[in-house]
Every structure is written in structure tokens, then in C-alpha cells.
């Protein structure tokens, strides 16, 4: 019966994960549909013969959003649950402990912007001031809105002015900092020119949301589902083994 409870608990968790997976799938579908529509609108409104596609990709592109994978120990997640199930037979607890000891590390995916992780490590105030200004992907929604308002050119002018001041301060120091800074024009929108159409910027916003929030979570949920599947199979095997042992014992008792 305890084995069955354990399996039921795992299956319940699996159903929650499945629900989250399908919800994330719906969200991804919505975001991607919007993204495709916006790219189509941008292509439709573009000059004759111009298409926002692979012909414009930068052959030296560097990823401004990267993956960070960490493995979390499942023991931490279910420590409360384990404490609540102290009445379980020692056999189950032992097998579970043994199982955790082996390989219960569920990968967790997150998407980070390298500039974000580098910012706290910035050694001087100058670089920490300049990195956020020169890294458009940090606030794509705000940027898209600002560009729609026509204020981006003003911002760019301000940034350039601030940079000119910095240049005047100390050329040698700046030369050293340049190597640590993210590239000035690492925004993929720049591949398509300086004045990109609003639908393309909207497509970028939707794509960023999908890449930062939905896709890593989908991958994490998928990994967790695999882990639960393995756990359930193991639990079923243990149950079958226990049942076989119990029936063998019953036969022996009856015979004697």
C-alpha cells in the first residue's frame, strides 16, 4: 500500500508537470505566431525585393543571450515530503535514499545575458556605467517603445556625447576597458539597418520573451518529467518485487 502511495505521489507530480508543459507550449505557440505575423508584416511593408532574412545575418554574430544550466538536487525539493513520510517501511526509505545518492540531479535551464552576469564583476565605475547603455538587448521592450516614440536618436546622441567625454578623460584607460565591453552593436536588429520597421522590433520583443522565459522552462520541465518517469518505473519494479516476495512468503506459511 505504501508503495502504491509513493507511486501515486509521483504520478500526481507528473500530471502537474504535464499541465505546466502544455501551458508553456500554448504560450510558446502564441508568442511564435505573433512573431511570424510581425516578420510577415515587416517583409510586406519593406521595399521591393527586400526581405528580413538570412541574407542580412552578420557572419560574425556573437550570442548576447546564453544558456546557463545548473543541476538542482531533488532531495532539497522533497525534503518536507520525505519528513512527512517517516512512517514508511524502512525498505522504501532505504531504496529511496540509495536512489537519491546515485543520480537525482535535475538540470535547470536559464537564459542569461553575459553582460548581466559580467556587470557585478566590473572593476571600475566607468565600465559599470557604460555597459547598460551600450547593450540594447537588456531592455528590448523599453527600447522598442522608445524607438516607436522616435526618441532613440536622442538617446543615441546622449550616449555618444557621454562617451566622447569619457574618451577625453583617459584614452589609455578606455583602450583597456574596450576589450572588456560588449560590442557596441550587438543588437541583431542592426543587421537589418539603422531604421528597422516597428513590426520587426515587436517580433524581437516576442522572441526575447520566448527565449528568456518559455523555452528554458520547457526544457527544465521536460528534464523533470524524464526524471519522474524513471522514478515511477523504479518504484513499480520495487513494488512488483515486494509483492513477489510477499506471495512467496504466504505460500511457504500455508505449506507449513
Amino acid at each position: 500500500m505504501d508503495y502504491q502511495d509513493h507511486i501515486d505521489g509521483l504520478l500526481e507530480r507528473y500530471l502537474h508537470l504535464l499541465h505546466e508543459y502544455t501551458s508553456l507550449r500554448d504560450e510558446l505557440t502564441t508568442l511564435q505566431t505573433g512573431m511570424y505575423q510581425n516578420i510577415a508584416r515587416a517583409n510586406f511593408a519593406a521595399e521591393r525585393g527586400l526581405r528580413f532574412g538570412q541574407d542580412h545575418y552578420d557572419d560574425r554574430m556573437q550570442a548576447s543571450r546564453r544558456l546557463a544550466i545548473s543541476c538542482e538536487d531533488q532531495n532539497e525539493d522533497h525534503s518536507d515530503q520525505a519528513q512527512a513520510q517517516n512512517q514508511e517501511p524502512s525498505e522504501i526509505q532505504d531504496s529511496r535514499r540509495d536512489h537519491h545518492h546515485h543520480d537525482h540531479h535535475i538540470p535547470r535551464f536559464t537564459v542569461i545575458t553575459p553582460a548581466c552576469s559580467a556587470a557585478p564583476a566590473a572593476e571600475d565605475s566607468e565600465s559599470s556605467v557604460h555597459i547598460p547603455n551600450n547593450n540594447p538587448p537588456h531592455h528590448p521592450e523599453a527600447e522598442a517603445k522608445a524607438e516607436a516614440d522616435g526618441s532613440v536618436e536622442q538617446d543615441a546622441t546622449d550616449n555618444d556625447a557621454a562617451q566622447d567625454d569619457a574618451d577625453a578623460d583617459d584614452d589609455d584607460k578606455l583602450a583597456g576597458n574596450r576589450s572588456r565591453r560588449p560590442p557596441k552593436r550587438d543588437d541583431p536588429l542592426r543587421w537589418f539597418g539603422l531604421l528597422t520597421p516597428a513590426p520587426l522590433r515587436q517580433a524581437q520583443t516576442q522572441s526575447i520573451r520566448a527565449v528568456e522565459h518559455v523555452i528554458p522552462r520547457l526544457a527544465s520541465v521536460d528534464a523533470e518529467m524524464r526524471e519522474v518517469e524513471i522514478e515511477v518505473r523504479r518504484a513499480r519494479k520495487r513494488r512488483a518485487k515486494a509483492e513477489a516476495t510477499a506471495s512467496a512468503t504466504a505460500v511457504t506459511v500455508t505449506a507449513s
Binding site: 507550449r25 510558446l28 532574412g53 550570442a63 544558456l67 524581437q204 527565449v211 526544457a219
Partner: protein, 121 residues
């Protein structure tokens, strides 16, 4: 799914195999990366009607087996159908394969490898 730290710590890129709009949209988010010369390996493949299945398989093998810096492979579902046998037999923990919809082929849950696995389970 046992994964040592060495398996995943250097996996920092997402790879894409998709049609032009899918790849363009995802690259707009800043996930595109070309390694330094002389290799200059891209982490994406644009697939069109002329792309042969062998090229898709080669890219899939490159992203999943040869390269150790890819953590998630995104592939359009209709393209995944072309190499379904490869995807269904892929069991490694890293990189993770995620099928995504494309402009002309909406997401079909019945073809999704995760949901099919859940169905069998």
C-alpha cells in the same frame, strides 16, 4: 539522466534548425553565434525546400554529438518529422531537443516527442 557537471557546464548556446522566419525570429533574440575562424561554426541551420534531409541530419548530429557547447536544440516540428527516427532514438540528457512550431506548420501535440512519450508512459 545522470549528469555530471562536465556534461553541461560549457553548454551555453541554443541551436536552431528551422525555416528562415523561425531562425530569423530566434536570432533576433540574440542567440545566434558564429565561432571564431577558421571553424566559423554556426549554431543555426536555415532549412528550405531545397535542403536535403542528409544536411538536416548532419546539422542535428553536429549540434547534438560533435559540439559540446550546445545546451538546447530547437527544431521546427515539420523538419523534425523528416528526421523523426533520429529524434526518437536520441536519449542523451544534453543537449535537450525541443520541437517548435513554424509559420506554415502549426504545433501538433500528437507529433510532439515529449507528449508521445507521456502518452506511452
Amino acid at each position: 539522466m545522470a549528469a555530471s557537471q562536465g556534461d553541461y557546464k560549457d553548454r551555453q548556446f541554443l541551436a536552431v534548425i528551422g525555416d528562415e522566419d523561425s531562425v530569423t525570429g530566434l536570432l533576433l533574440a540574440g542567440i545566434g553565434h558564429v565561432t571564431n575562424p577558421p571553424d566559423s561554426q554556426k549554431n543555426f541551420l536555415v532549412v528550405d525546400n531545397k535542403t536535403e534531409t542528409s544536411a538536416i541530419e548532419a546539422a542535428f548530429d553536429s549540434f547534438t554529438t560533435e559540439r559540446k557547447d550546445i545546451g538546447i536544440v530547437l527544431i521546427n516540428q515539420h523538419i523534425a518529422e523528416k528526421i523523426r527516427h533520429r529524434i526518437d532514438t536520441y536519449t542523451a540528457a544534453f543537449p535537450t531537443i525541443l520541437e517548435i512550431p513554424s509559420k506554415e506548420h502549426p504545433y501538433d501535440p500528437e507529433k510532439d516527442s515529449v507528449l508521445r512519450r507521456a502518452d506511452m508512459f
